[in-house]
Symmetry: C3
């Protein structure tokens, strides 16, 4: 795929304005809501087991994020996820901190087991844990992984049946066959809480208007990284950087994404 | 009423610094707290059923917002609301997403039924649902309504006994007799999560220092819209716009509101 | 102590990058996470009783903040606190709004009773309540206290065994013997929700790399105040001020803290 396809998806998000239902953490939820608006979609946050089944029915995608997990939230995620599966609404899973505690690991595995997940997006440590690799997760915002990111993403995709994205200096996206690398982004994005969560929200917005989740996820990550590049020029620290990223996203023209997306098919060329 | 009356209320908020007790959602709660400070009042967020009755007793107003509802929150809202009613503390209801799920609709109707609500503030779709009109609510941030906004606001006010405000391009506020329209604001306010919630917080701050909830609500909405106009001049996107709105509110002089408030009595002149 | 010692601690925070586990409120949690990153540490927010014991084991400090309290959170705080105590991980308590409701007072006293708290940081009213003084707490963001701040801090420290910090125009920090005053800061910090909570997060980050909690807490408060001074030069209101404070913190050089910290030992010189 190329930047032009990503630009077309962005145009589609803005014209279709899909509702993105989030069941997410209370740390970065405001940024998730606002980034969803900035890209042109419409956020809904609802997590009571008494309403998620109804709410997800109006959604174009469901984003599940386990950043501040508890047992009731898992229950809500499963209820909403089953309803989404029945309606063929794509489900994005952000397994924040999986591997750090048994609650997170058991819950993520249960979600993957009981639901059909369209896209799993995590950092290297989180995806490594899900792939059964030697990986360490330190809290929620970092992790290390031995071995090739692409190899681990492929293995995780094989095990889960989902499109898998590893965010990092280079992002990797794969459906188990095609492997894309995305080289947009800036190191400052690692100095801001919630960039991973926001990337998952954007992945939901793009999945809502596309049947090809490798392309939609790669487009979302490329777009987010591109906004990170643009804002890095004038940001003075993490807070002005956040402001810049979101403002840039809001006014970015699809043609800019068409030109500046750095998405490469590396399927036949894995390191 | 005119802008001068609004300016006097703003001065009163700043000198009396009322505590505004919020039971609200976890998406926009930080903006609600900060906007309350920016206008000159003092926010308290407390939602445990074990403390809301005590907390509301020190408050000048109680703001109930059902943006991320669950059954325990409804219980807390009813406990706090009854205590507020006993003490004649005004209660503001923001029925976020009412009509989107049964939990929201049933809870909002129960709150209206069991409590004396001073002000209900919603978008057209939400107020339409409460008025029993043909209205559709799509998630939490939009809704459409057939027919005249003023007519629906009047009907909702009649049914509920509350002052009703519909936020939109023109805001409408009515107590069932007088109908005011407020023409301050800017379309960019629709591109930011939480503007509706923040308007409810401001409505609480103004209600806390006024016995006339039509005037207090119209003043709050006019003030908020005016800050939205001012910040639109230099904002580069939703995040810098939010920063601008709140900063403008903090330093706005009452005389500016006196001059620039666009509040009209349209009682005898409904479309 | 002098600014040089504070600067060395800042350097240590940045090189050791300790994980700071927060069990905190949902109002200011995002700012707590981001300020933790800005200073060079790594935030984790996790509050389910089913995972806090495991999570705290990877932490360098545990921050307990009762800003939006409920019974389950208290339980999680006690579980995490006991695990932290067993591992000699410092525990910071921010008793937000203690004295405003019985739930807050009873919970804070129980936490102090059942756990070994390293640092208690509050405003004058909150610390006054814990010291059994004539103090009034109005909601969560203000309080008044009769008598000398240093005297009350000393008394609270004696009663609790913790290092006690009172934030205010001048901050006071004492371990019951040494009394330090910190004169960095700016009045605008009182016009922003969450500055108290952020100060507690920073106190946690510094405690994680120091065995001397008087010095670590004074350093954290001095650093935060210094960033508040710097941002005050160009801020236009509370939101741009928050952006400024956090951005300044991110790029502040230790040498600046060494030079501009205003920490005085007033032990023999109490008012």
């Amino acid at each position: 795929m190329d930047g032009k396809a990503s630009a077309e998806l962005l145009t589609k998000v803005r014209s279709e304005n899909p509702v993105i239902h989030h069941i997410t953490n209370y740390v970065t939820v405001n940024d998730c809501a606002n980034i969803t608006i900035c890209v042109g979609a419409s956020p809904v946050m609802a997590d009571s087991p008494d309403e998620v089944e109804e709410m997800v029915k109006i959604a174009g995608a469901l984003v599940l994020n386990i950043g501040t997990l508890n047992k009731e939230l898992v229950e809500s995620m499963l209820i909403a996820g089953k309803a989404a599966n029945d309606l063929d609404i794509p489900v994005i899973l952000d397994p924040v901190g999986v591997g750090a505690t048994r609650l997170r690991t058991d819950s993520a595995l249960r979600i993957i087991d009981e639901l059909k997940i369209s896209v799993i997006k995590g950092n290297a440590g989180e995806i490594g844990v899900l792939a059964g690799e030697k990986a360490t997760v330190r809290g929620v915002d970092s992790g290390t992984l031995e071995g090739s990111f692409a190899g681990v993403a492929l293995k995780c995709s094989e095990l889960t049946g989902a499109v898998v994205a590893i965010s990092g200096e280079k992002d990797i996206v794969t459906d188990g066959k095609t492997v894309l690398s995305i080289e947009n982004g800036h190191y400052m994005m690692g100095n801001l809480s919630g960039t991973g969560c926001m990337a998952a929200s954007l992945s939901g917005a793009f999945a809502a208007v596309s049947g090809n989740y490798v392309e939609s996820t790669a487009s979302a990550l490329s777009l987010f990284g591109l906004c990170g590049e643009k804002a890095s020029v004038y940001a003075k620290g993490p807070y002005s950087y956040r402001t810049g990223i979101c403002d840039e996203l809001f006014r970015l023209k699809p043609v800019e994404l068409a030109v500046d997306a750095k998405i490469k098919d590396i399927t036949g060329n894995l390191e």
